[in-house]
């Protein structure tokens, strides 16, 4: 067993390094974490990592932050969680602070403005691509409730400007009700059987 300060430092540098190279955020960090903490450092079993990924993705907030909380806690308790959050949050915090200063100084420059104008079209295309892929998967499931939720949520936010928070709450509640009803029907079926 390596001594504590060394472990903390290793945890910090590892999460800092991982966070510095996770572009676009999201699920990319899970396989990177697995390689580092399961394969390289052998601090965790593969199954731990899978459980962590499931929890990180089911919890609200950024997946990378969620995963690093679980990882830090697992490896070195509450202090570990604090350290790995710090390691994960510092790179974007520092980088975006610097970029933010540049942004204010350069946004009015006509060439920068032209470049960002082109990028606006690009980022709109990236979002459209994501929506087509994710929306397509949901349509393929052919579940009426999901299609209604998708259409309803779109109208609620785009046309009626309803606070996104309420839309999430209502749709989540619908999902819970649906699961409970399905659960009850399954039980009935089982009790009918001789």
């Amino acid at each position: 067993m390596i001594d504590k300060p060394k472990k903390y430092w290793k945890l910090f540098t590892s999460t800092f390094f991982l966070s510095s190279f996770t572009f676009g955020g999201g699920y990319v960090i899970i396989p990177l974490m697995k390689r580092k903490f399961v394969d390289d450092l052998k601090w965790l079993e593969e199954e731990d990592m899978l459980n962590m990924a499931a929890i990180a993705q089911s919890s609200p907030g950024a997946v990378a932050v969620n995963a690093s909380i679980l990882l830090g806690y697992r490896v070195a308790g509450v202090v570990g969680a604090g350290i790995s959050i710090l390691g994960t949050v510092l790179p974007p915090l520092l980088l975006l602070s610097v970029l933010s200063l540049f942004y204010t100084a350069f946004r009015s420059n006509p060439i920068v403005s032209a470049v960002l104008g082109g990028m606006q079209a690009g980022v709109a295309a990236v979002i459209a691509d994501v929506v087509i892929s994710m929306g397509g998967n949901i349509i393929k499931e052919k579940k009426l409730l999901y299609l209604l939720i998708m259409a309803g949520a779109f109208l609620a936010t785009y046309l009626f400007h309803i606070n996104v928070m309420y839309i999430i709450l209502v749709c989540g509640a619908l999902g819970a009700i649906q699961t409970l009803i399905a659960h009850r029907q399954n039980k009935k079926k089982e009790s009918v059987r001789p």
Binding site: T22, F23, G25, G26, I55, A56, Q57, S58, S59, P60, G61, A62, V63, A64, V65, I69, Y73, I85, P92, L95, L96, S97, L99, S100, L101, Y103, T104, R107, P110, I111, A114, V115, L116, G117, G118, M119, Q120, G122, A124, A125, V126, I127, A128, D129, V130, M134, Y146, L147, I149, M150, F154, V164, M165, I167, I168, C171, L174, G175, A176, L180
Partner: protein, 187 residues
């Protein structure tokens, strides 16, 4: 006071962005552009572009960017804290439940139903961005002269490349930026 507002706004963003990746985007737009007017739609789209090109989750990037613009570096730290605090609480809680019950069918059901909602919310934010790219801050006008033809062409070319060849979004956006910059020199 502004610190408190920033903290509360990003706390809500952290609390209600479920599903990772782009899920936070519509919430950030809702809080930062629609409710508090901290950023214009152009600045917000720039922010999403920057977030895509830099490491780190969109929510943390946005917290830093908005925080620093509104209240300096202290604002950036406060917003970031607000955005990760819900994660700290809920992740611990869920981890506890998860290891106790292993299979949480109700939570799974909630997440399944949230997926289509999240797609719809992202679609709505995306549509606002498309309109911004095509017509500028003024929004949709049914006139051909108001349309930025170059942006329309770039958008469809980029979408085609993304769908057909699955090129990395960073490359596509960088390419669009380079073309946008070059077009500036062509009268």
């Amino acid at each position: 006071m502004i610190y408190l507002q920033l903290f509360w706004s990003f706390f809500q963003i952290g609390l209600f962005s479920i599903g990772g990746g782009y899920a936070a985007m519509p919430l950030i737009q809702n809080q930062v552009v629609d409710l508090h007017h901290w950023l214009t739609m152009t600045e917000f789209t720039d922010l999403i572009t920057i977030s895509q090109m830099t490491p780190g989750p969109i929510a943390v990037n946005s917290a830093t960017f908005v925080g620093i613009q509104i209240a300096g570096f202290g604002g950036a730290v406060i917003s970031t804290l607000g955005c990760i605090l819900p994660s700290c609480i809920i992740v611990s809680l869920l981890a506890f439940l998860y290891f106790k019950y292993q299979q949480l069918t109700v939570i799974q059901g909630v997440l399944n139903a949230l997926r289509p909602a999240v797609v719809a919310l992202i679609a709505s934010a995306g549509l606002t961005m498309i309109i911004l790219a095509f017509w500028g801050e003024g929004g949709f006008v049914p006139q051909l002269s108001a349309l930025h033809i170059s942006s329309v062409v770039l958008f469809f070319a980029a979408l085609f490349i993304l769908r057909k060849w699955k090129l990395s979004p960073i490359m596509v956006m960088a390419g669009c930026g380079v073309i946008g910059g070059l077009l500036y020199f062509i009268p």
